[in-house]
């Protein structure tokens, strides 16, 4: 049985280590926060200007001056610090964030990422995605293995405009987990329960090694 959104988030959470500073994107990546182990100390960054992001507020705690990069109301923690967006992206660009978990439209076998623009559709903008993939030490993509129409999203080369080149280190899909290493390409390292390699091959265009 392929993984669902929560399974994928849980798997992504395993990439977090004690002491990590982590930026979580919008959508499934946001769910990763629910699966951070009690045994590790992780600090979440919100790129609008906050380190130490807490959970959503209770109804009577909502504060319009306290939102995350997805513009959702959130809360602060005892460790929280606030800073400007320039200071926030200095942190990101300077390589101080250990891990970012992002969604994607396409990932190529050398780690190119496309997740901000579909030509011909209204372009909303890249927000902080290009900064994150360029600056964060390790980038984990969480996405469905194929598009709704069944088209592969793991490709030889991305067809959509890129967010960054050779920036993705790991892809977690509903079918399995792939690592991407510079010059070594993509490797399947885990398969979701009851999913066959044939099934994965059938919905993957990218070339990959298998090491499960």
């Amino acid at each position: 049985m392929p993984w669902d959104r929560n399974d994928m988030a849980r798997r992504a959470a395993q990439e977090l280590e004690d002491g990590f500073y982590v930026n979580l994107g919008i959508g499934i990546p946001t769910l990763v926060a629910n699966y951070i182990g009690d045994d590790i100390d992780v600090t979440l960054q919100s790129e609008n200007g906050m380190l130490g992001m807490g959970p959503f507020p209770y109804d009577d705690e909502v504060d319009p001056d306290l939102i995350n990069a997805g513009k959702q109301t959130i809360t602060e923690l005892r460790r929280t610090s606030y800073f400007s967006s320039a200071d926030s992206f200095a942190m990101i660009r300077g390589g101080h964030i250990d891990l970012s978990v992002l969604g994607a439209m396409e990932v190529s076998e050398n780690g190119d990422l496309a997740n901000w623009m579909i030509p011909g559709k209204m372009v909303k903008g890249m927000g902080g995605a290009m900064d994150l993939v360029a600056g964060v030490k390790r980038v984990v993509v969480v996405m469905d293995h194929a598009s709704k129409s069944g088209a592969p999203k793991l490709l030889h080369e991305c067809s959509l405009p890129l967010t960054g080149r050779a920036v993705v280190d790991m892809v977690i899909t509903n079918l399995g987990v792939f690592t991407i290493k510079a010059g070594k390409g993509m490797t399947l390292i885990e398969i979701a329960p009851d999913v066959s390699i044939d099934e994965i091959n059938a919905s993957t265009q990218a070339t990959f090694e298998v090491a499960v």
């Binding site: 919100s46 790129e47 609008n48 200007g49 906050m50 959970p55 959503f56 507020p57 209770y58 109804d59 705690e61 909502v62 504060d63 319009p64 001056d65 306290l66 939102i67 995350n68 997805g70 513009k71 959702q72 109301t73 959130i74 602060e76 606030y82 800073f83 400007s84 967006s85 320039a86 926030s88 992206f89 200095a90 990101i92 660009r93 190119d112 209204m122 372009v123 909303k124 903008g125 890249m126 927000g127 902080g128 995605a129 290009m130 900064d131 360029a134 600056g135 405009p161 890129l162 967010t163 960054g164 080149r165 050779a166």
Partner: protein, 234 residues
Amino acid sequence: MKKIYPDAKAALDGLTFDGMTVMSGGFGLCGIAENLIAALRDSGAKNLTVISNNAGVDDFGLGLLLQTRQIKKMISSYVGENKEFERQYLSGELELEFNPQGTLAERCRAGGAGIPGFYTKTGVGTVIAEGKEHKEFNGETYIMETGLISDLSIVKAWKADEQGNLIFRKTARNFNPMMASAGKFTVAEVEEIVPLGSMDPDCIHTPGIYVQRIIKGEHEKRIEQRTIRERESA
């Protein structure tokens, strides 16, 4: 040298003109200069280039200036919340320059700091890098981005004193400090004007040197995504 003005209209008096470049602080609707945006609309200044991370929503924030078609060009990182923006853009009435969010923030910081250009890895190998100077540092490729300054920056802070020292609150700080520093003229609206000497001098986010005029405003502080959790029942 009095910096405190009675209202937003008075604070923008003499500072607006057609074709000017305006920086507008805020992230989404958080920390935007609500009163000054309305006064900028009422000034009637046209053909504005507006530098702002976002473009407001249809009926609030910079959306007000889109309704009146006072904006010629936006320099932003994300404009997804605004239907009128989409309409004007797709019909060719509005120019749009996308900047990665961190690049935009740094361009404002650089402009205020007298740095006309800097190198970044962000956007290398993407459409953002097209036409920009590329340079290698330690075997890695970077692109040059330029500093930005504005004719007028409108920012929102939590507190000000009469010298223009500003303190921001939580994530409403966002782009406001850099934009304050990058304005040839900067006007700040605040929730409270506090007595001189009542701020902790170690905790002033924007020193008064960057702020020429101040007003106390009224703030709706609209929330875009009200996300809450349920209390566990006792």
